[in-house]
């Protein structure tokens, strides 16, 4: 049990427990807090995978923007009833569906024909944020996904403003 394995196990336990709490907690604000803890655990997993850029971007984008947006939306819709999964009278069936999905995924993982690669020694990663940036702008690289995702962001921006603007502001 190396140190990294212990760190990973502790982190995985925290993440999964936070995920379970997020799904089962009644008050929506607490669910948002547990979601933030889960996202933090995922950021630590990214750090363990030596993708440090993604760990920090996870904190900035997910926790710093998306989670704050969710908290804002929860505050703006305060009249809503807090719900718990027990109110859904079909929750046993849904848990069964979730369990079937989980076992399907685990089956797919453990019957992977190249499962010998699971414990193969790890080669040295060539990690450089600059290389990723160059690849994003390379026409033989990933330029087209980059441009399309920027158009997607623009469309989302315009769409969100259009959906969210209230009629009184438009008429003025």
């Amino acid at each position: 049990m190396t140190g990294m394995q212990i760190v990973f196990l502790i982190n995985a336990a925290v993440t999964v427990i936070a995920g379970v709490m997020m799904v089962t907690v009644k008050r929506l604000m607490h669910a948002a807090m547990w979601l933030i803890l889960t996202l933090f655990g995922v950021a630590v997993v990214f750090g363990l995978l030596e993708a440090s850029f993604f760990a920090i971007v996870q904190v900035v984008v997910y926790i710093g923007a998306i989670a704050i947006l969710l908290v804002f939306a929860i505050m703006l819709t305060r009249d809503a009833v807090d719900d718990s999964f027990l109110q859904n009278h079909r929750w046993v069936l849904t848990a069964l569906i979730g369990a079937i999905a989980l076992s399907g995924l685990l089956l797919a993982i453990f019957t992977w024909p190249q499962s010998a690669l699971f414990t193969a020694p790890l080669a040295d990663a060539q990690r450089d944020v600059g290389e990723m940036g160059l690849a994003l702008l390379d026409p033989q690289g990933y330029l087209i996904p980059f441009e399309i995702s920027s158009i997607l962001l623009l469309a989302a921006l315009i769409g969100a403003v259009h959906v969210g603007i209230s009629r009184r502001e438009v008429e003025r």
Partner: protein
């Protein structure tokens, strides 16, 4: 002599040899030294805040033509300690109907977010918390965590004014992250790496000379990120009482207070590291303690400018704050980023005077163009005055002329 040249490395080497003489394996010894170093750094930062609060009150007093605290100790040095003792002994009131978990978590998050920035800043050529190669992005990430603390504080107090104050502050903080991130990219571009150690080492010519517009925009954005005057919407006592701080008492409020002042100093520290050359100066590589002294001097100058801005300028309204960000700062940051990229790539490489002159010229052009555009815009807005009200005579005889319509700038 080596102790005075580089005390921290000397002490850490001595502790390392001590621990390994006791038979502790080197990995564990390193781990314990890391924990000790982190504790010492955070303790030092928080104890330093005592001095910072006193400094701000004295300087504020002088700016406002009064003396400031002068009773408790010579020049009022122990005033902050007296305030600390008072805050320690106050009762913790958790308001009825509030969410106890979130209510108590918010000051912790706000404080942790500020302290976590100290981990990446190189305090001298050999003393730094950790040298991650994405230090600039880490600073932005940790700033986002601080905003989370603010919005939790606003929500968890069961109070309409706290909620409103929290909304306004977080909207402002999120908006001002955009020009801050964009202008932090300019030194990253000029250096070729996002690590703060690399940025500090690459400043044989300070970045404030190479990218003055970006430095100015970053300075303004960091003052706004700190929610200090003139952007201190939350402290507007006449508008919203104390903003998201209303329901906090005792040491919980003390945590917000300390986080506020420490954040101001940390923002000055970041500015000094990224734009003013950090620990660089004559003889800083040979004697790292000198490097720390240079960093302190530069940070003190920037902090002094921040305090003087706080006590000189009036407060901005929330819509003025937003308009200023989205209409002036963000386009300026974008343009400065583009122009610096173009000039940087088109000039020949090397640290010659030609490169510096080209960059300065480009920044001057940006500044003058922005100034012209802003004045044209303001002139045009002045001509579009909207008639707000017509003549409203209370008592007009038939021989008097009616009053002129009142014109107000929209």
């Amino acid at each position: 002599m080596s102790f005075f040249a580089d005390p921290i490395t000397f002490i850490s080497n001595w502790l390392n040899s001590l621990l390994s003489n006791w038979g502790i394996p080197p990995g564990w010894a390193q781990f314990m030294l890391f924990i000790l170093g982190a504790g010492a750094l955070s303790l030092g930062a928080m104890v330093f805040t005592i001095f910072l609060i006193w400094l701000e009150r004295k300087l504020g007093g002088r700016f406002q033509d009064r003396i400031g605290p002068n009773r408790v100790g010579p020049w009022g040095i122990f005033q902050t300690i007296a305030d600390m003792l008072k805050i320690f002994t106050k009762e913790y009131i958790t308001p009825w109907g509030s969410d106890p978990v979130l209510f108590n978590l918010a000051p912790v998050l706000a404080m942790a977010a500020v302290l976590a920035v100290w981990a990446v800043i190189p305090l001298s050529s050999t003393v730094y918390g950790s040298n991650i190669h994405i230090g600039v992005l880490y600073i932005l990430a940790v700033g986002a965590l601080g905003e989370l603390g603010v919005i939790l504080a606003g929500f968890a107090s069961n109070n309409k004014y706290a909620l409103l104050g929290g909304f306004r502050v977080v909207a402002m903080l999120i908006s001002y992250e955009v020009p801050m991130a964009l202008t932090l990219l300019v030194p990253v571009m000029l250096t070729g790496s996002m690590g703060l150690n690399d940025i500090t080492s690459a400043q044989s010519v300070w970045f404030i000379w190479q990218a003055p517009v970006a430095a100015l925009v970053f300075f303004i954005a960091s003052i706004a990120e700190n929610s200090r005057a003139p952007f201190d919407l939350i402290e507007a006592d006449s508008e919203i009482v104390a903003g998201f701080n209303i329901e906090y008492s005792g040491l919980k409020f003390g945590m917000f207070y300390v986080a506020d002042f420490l954040h101001a100093f940390t923002a000055a520290l970041i500015f000094a590291s990224v734009f003013l050359g950090g620990w660089r100066g004559p003889g800083a590589e040979l004697y790292p303690a000198l490097g720390f002294l240079y960093l302190l001097i530069k940070t003190a100058i920037v902090y002094f400018i921040t305090i003087s801005i706080r006590f000189s300028l009036p407060r901005l309204r929330v819509d003025q704050v937003m308009a200023f960000n989205w209409k002036y700062l963000t386009p300026l940051a974008l343009v400065s980023l583009l122009v610096t990229a173009l000039v940087d790539k088109s000039l020949p490489a090397g640290q010659g005077w030609l490169r510096l002159g080209g960059l300065l010229l480009a920044n001057l052009v940006i500044f003058v163009a922005a100034d012209r555009l802003v004045s044209i815009y303001r002139k045009r807005k002045k001509q579009e005055r909207r008639v707000v009200s017509g003549p409203r005579p209370i008592a007009v005889t038939l021989r008097e002329k009616p009053a002129e319509p009142v014109e107000v700038e929209s």
